[in-house]
Amino acid sequence: MFGDYSLGDLGAIFAMQGFAGLILFSVYVLMALGLAIIFGQMGVINMAHGEFMILGAYMTYLCSTFFQSYLPALFPGYFFLAMVLAFCASGALGMLVELALIRHLYKRPLDTLLATWGLSLILQQAYRSIFGAREVGVELPTWLIGSVQVTESIEIPINGLFVMAVTTLITVGVALLIYRSRFGQQVRAVMANRPMAGAVGIDTEKVDRYTFGLGCGIAGVAGSAFTMIGSTGPTSGQLYIVDTFLIVVFGGAASLLGTIASAFSISQTQSTLEFFLSGSMAKVLTLLAVVGILMLRPQGLFTLKVRR
């Protein structure tokens, strides 16, 4: 299929394809990071993860309409405020959910699955009642639209670069928070051994609540960022859920590094396959490969050795 193209063309395409893979990688990391905390660290199967993302997307939509009508001068910068708001809204809802629902279910992980599925139905219907069944169009500031011309034939989408930057920032932030801060220490202690952590004076309930809120908040930021590349509608969240869970499981649930590695391998596989095969088959083959590897190596790519 490459016979007809010049070397320069091919070079440009491979460069752009490499970037497409990196963008997909950032999208996957951003999607999976919140879940990696919730599922990986806490063992809660949050089927409403997609709906928390869409909450962030709707916050962005509200922000954009607000700025457009009342503060048009500040419109170019609204996206940053929107992301902060998305984090707060999703995080607050997450803590509320933890308080009302999840904390009763820590010993029954499979039941969290059912309860959060119910929660996702309720949230979907709530979005539909509030924002309408149609997808909403989020207006973007002009500086986020378009692409950077690197060479004559290589163009990189700006929103892709933006997603990559956001992903990097959040990943570093989460890593610092979990592995370098006092709060992170407590989180890890509670996850490793709950009674013992309680015995040394850690307020385990509070740690649970903040951890869950943190995971949901990151989902909200992801949703906010995705308004640039995807659709925002009541059921859009469901599009992400299978991919997200597979990434986290494939990475080995308890490890952030694993999540990143698995997002990288899955995104590269998919974007390469998509280039050489047709879209549907690429998706099927990627998922099959992941499921196949998981059957052979159920602990995922990276695992922590923990005593059960």
């Binding site: 193209y5 063309d9 395409i13 752009m16 394809q17 970037f19 497409a20 963008i23 997909l24 999208v27 939509y61 539909r128 009642s129 509030i130 924002f131 309408g132 069944a133 149609r134 997808e135 909403v136 169009g137 989020v138 207006e139 639209i145 378009g146 692409s147 011309q149 163009e155 989408p157 700006i158 929103n159 892709g160 995705f226 640039m228 590349i229 995807g230 659709s231 925002t232 509608g233 059921t235 859009s236 469901q238 599009l239 998919q270 974007s271 998509e274 280039f275 047709s278 879209g279 549907s280 690429a282 998706k283």
Partner: protein, 422 residues
């Protein structure tokens, strides 16, 4: 826009509102008419001999669309248009002196539910006709029911063709009607000789692209440089966009649907492909879809449909005004909405020509019926139950409307089983 939808949906779903719509769609208007407006019709025994729900003053018509579930977004416009048409018909005296009574059922975006509700409308409610369905899958699910119980279905969506049933009238375009004129136009006006096809992975895009490919290769002597399908709901299109950049087609031809549509155009725009320079012809974007995509993201693309809200003629001006009056100023009207509006009128005219509501007689009276009052202009029913209609090409504008750049000079004959395209 969202607020408008919100009110609309709430209004539709409130039981009271629905009940009002059911029987009394045109009650306020009716009260203004002289009382004997409905008394003029012929005797019931003369117009109904097969046990349909026809009384001296009323005839029952079913509406079967998804009010809930993922398809509700798309099907809202169609059922609004049908209700508008029925209200107008009632206002003008009904059919054969009988007011149309609506029974509405929710298909809930679920194909067995469509079949179940279709059966209810035909068996329990004895509807004389049913306006409904949107997706091919729902139509395929109800088709055996309509054939078994000899019902009458008016189906509004443009679709892949390959079907013709005695019991169904297709008021949207079949694939060759919609696509070929658009391809000819883009070939002639934009010098389109190389094409890249991008579609969602299901029957309509695949069949449409098959027809388009045959036309490009055999008639236009052009070349298809790529053909790609993505699962419904897919949101990552960067790889295919790179392929498009690599193959440099003159024309990108798309039939992506649903949430994927939004993602595709956003990413296309972000990747630096400028739709004012790159020709893009789509058969899946109407005014309804632009709402979600955002006018800025798709401005400059060409869409190939039989109807656009911006058509300039008196029928359409009145239709748009009436539609907005009934359903709100912010609603937009797409191709399918207009096609749905034709259904009740075509049924009325066939009944009046046959002098009966009996399905067999209505079906027999339908071929060659002409409807001059259609918003899209003059249409005619072909003996194969599809409509003769014109095809138009519109250029998307940032405000979400289309500027019509081409209208086929003649009505195009519907050909659901096109020879040489299979």
């Amino acid at each position: 826009m969202a607020d408008g939808d919100h009110d609309l949906n709430r209004g539709l779903r409130s039981p009271l509102r629905r009940k009002l719509l059911m029987g009394l769609a045109a009650a306020p208007a009716l009260s203004l008419l002289p009382r004997n407006a409905f008394a003029a019709g012929p005797a019931t025994s003369a117009v109904s001999t097969t046990g349909l729900a026809v009384t001296d003053t009323e005839v029952t018509c079913g509406i079967l669309h998804s009010i809930t579930g993922t398809m509700a977004i798309s099907e809202t416009g169609a059922q609004q248009a049908e209700k508008l048409a029925i209200a107008q018909i009632n206002e003008a005296g009904g059919i054969l002196g009988r007011k149309i009574k609506i029974i509405q059922e929710d298909g809930a975006s679920d194909w067995p539910t469509f079949a179940e509700k279709a059966k209810k409308l035909l068996v329990n409610d004895k509807c004389a006709a049913v306006m409904g369905c949107w997706t091919s899958a729902s139509r395929k699910a109800v088709l055996p029911v309509f054939e078994q119980y000899n019902g009458l279905l008016y189906y509004p969506t443009f679709y892949e063709g390959l079907e013709q049933s005695k019991n169904v009238f297709y008021t949207g375009q079949e694939a060759t009607q919609q696509i070929l004129a658009g391809l000819d136009w883009v070939h002639k006006e934009k010098g389109g000789d190389t094409f890249f096809f991008v579609g969602s992975d299901y029957i309509w895009p695949r069949t449409s692209n098959k027809i388009a490919r045959k036309h490009v290769e055999n008639v236009l002597k052009g070349k298809v440089v790529g053909e790609e399908y993505f699962p419904l709901g897919h949101t990552q299109f960067n790889s295919v966009i790179n392929k498009i950049k690599l193959t440099k087609p003159k024309v990108i031809f798309t039939d992506v649907v649903g949430g994927s549509n939004v993602a595709f155009y956003k990413q296309l725009k972000a990747s630096g492909i400028d739709l004012s320079k790159q020709v893009l012809l789509t058969i899946s974007v109407t005014e309804d879809e632009i709402d979600g995509i955002g006018g800025d993201n798709i401005a400059g693309a060409y869409s190939c449909m039989k109807y656009f809200q911006s058509i300039e003629n008196d029928n359409n001006k009145k239709f748009v005004a009436d539609f907005k009056k009934m359903w709100g100023e912010k609603t937009v009207i797409g191709d399918v909405t207009q096609a749905a509006y034709l259904g009740p009128y075509l049924w009325k005219m066939a009944c009046e020509k046959a002098g009966s509501f009996d399905v067999d007689k209505v079906v027999a009276a339908s071929p060659d019926l002409e409807f001059k009052g259609a918003p899209e202009g003059y249409v005619r029913i072909d003996p194969n139950h599809h409509l003769w209609s014109k095809t138009r090409v519109g250029k998307a504008k940032p405000d979400g409307q289309f500027e019509i750049v081409y209208t086929s000079p003649e009505l195009i004959k519907p050909d659901p089983f096109p020879k040489g395209y299979q």
